[in-house]
Symmetry: C2
Subunit: 220 residues, 2 copies
């Protein structure tokens, strides 16, 4: 599928990679084991986005809410997030990890990437990764600066993440689950029923094909 096929390419895609545990159960695995199978799909997606020329992508890693899950699941998704970042360090991306790094559940291994952008290789795409993210934490100090012609939301923890044009959620749930409330206000939302570990290229193409049919009004 070539670059030119999609006339309107979203600049920034948000990814909610849901369904790892349900996938594991369906495949006679323990729930916690699903997360491992969620790493490779992210890199398949990364490659296609580079090919198409997408400029920015945000992956929903895990949230503070998620850390209330059984401890073996918590360990498994934390480990998967660390592996994903270590893999990405060998690629060409500008990584920004956003999450509450003051908390004990924030992985020590990722502290060096927390809340600042780090360039890997040729830095061909901005990849944001939400790790121990919490929407209340994100908004906790927000305020608005009113400029000449527009007002800007300021001081949110995720302020280095731009507005998302398109959000794709795997696993069938039709909700945002606290995913970047400010950057998602105008996002078009596309739901894929398949679970995230069953990712295939066509999922992205299908979402982008649908995106061609939407208008962008930014609330106007």
């Amino acid at each position: 599928m070539s670059k030119d096929y999609f006339r309107r390419l979203p600049k920034h895609i948000g990814i909610i990679p849901d369904g790892n545990r349900r996938w594991a159960v369906n495949n006679n695995l323990d729930k916690k084991d699903g997360y491992y199978y969620g790493i490779d799909p992210g890199f398949q997606l990364y490659e296609i986005m580079l090919e198409l020329g997408v400029k920015e992508a945000t992956f929903y890693g895990f949230t503070q809410d998620n850390t209330k899950r059984p401890s073996n699941q918590k360990q498994a998704f934390t480990k998967a997030c660390i592996s994903a970042v270590n893999n990405l360090a060998n690629k060409d991306a500008n990584l920004l990890v956003v999450g509450n790094d003051k908390s004990a559940v924030f992985p020590k291994e990722l502290l060096k990437y927390a809340n600042k952008r780090v360039k890997f290789g040729r830095g061909l795409i901005n990849i944001n990764f939400l790790v121990n993210y919490d929407w209340k934490w994100d908004l906790s100090n927000c305020n608005v600066i009113n400029g000449q012609k527009k007002s800007l939301i300021n001081n949110i923890a995720s302020s280095d993440i731009s507005r998302m044009d398109l959000i794709i959620r795997w696993g069938g749930r039709r909700r945002l689950s606290g995913f970047l409330p400010v950057q998602s206000v105008y996002s078009d939302i596309y739901i894929i029923d398949d679970y995230w570990p069953d990712f295939k290229k066509d999922h992205l193409y299908e979402a982008l094909k649908w995106y061609q049919t939407t208008d962008v009004t930014l609330g106007g």
Copy 2:
């Protein structure tokens, strides 16, 4: 359709009544004339929600973004919002109008209901109506209070509006368009392709039937 049919009834439903102008064009009317036909559907919905026992509903009236539209459209949707409130004043609801009432485009006729809840008749349901609403205006002073066990978002302009369980959007667009970013973080979102003036009872039943199949995890 009886009350008992829906085992899980959302306490609070958000309504995005989109598609009025597209409906007008399809019916050989001027775009602006679509809004008038959006009033009655709201009252049909009100009656069914009372019947089912829904406790709270929020209707997306118009936004500050919308006021950039051609002036005859602006006049038409403003007039429709005023008519809707005047009709509701003869029913049994607790009305809360939320929006920037310091702005010149906020309808004078609705100032007496702005940003405080007013009881009509027996007050059987809480109806929130967003009028000249703007998500940036809503969040402009937000902060978080950390209590013993949980943190609360505080000082948002819409703080008297509770979390929405289900959001139903008419008119086929799959996005929130700035609709209450804080109260929508965990909402299940259901899209109806028909335009809002073509509302029929079955739209709500279809959404509620789907809602039975979702789980509520609040991000956990």
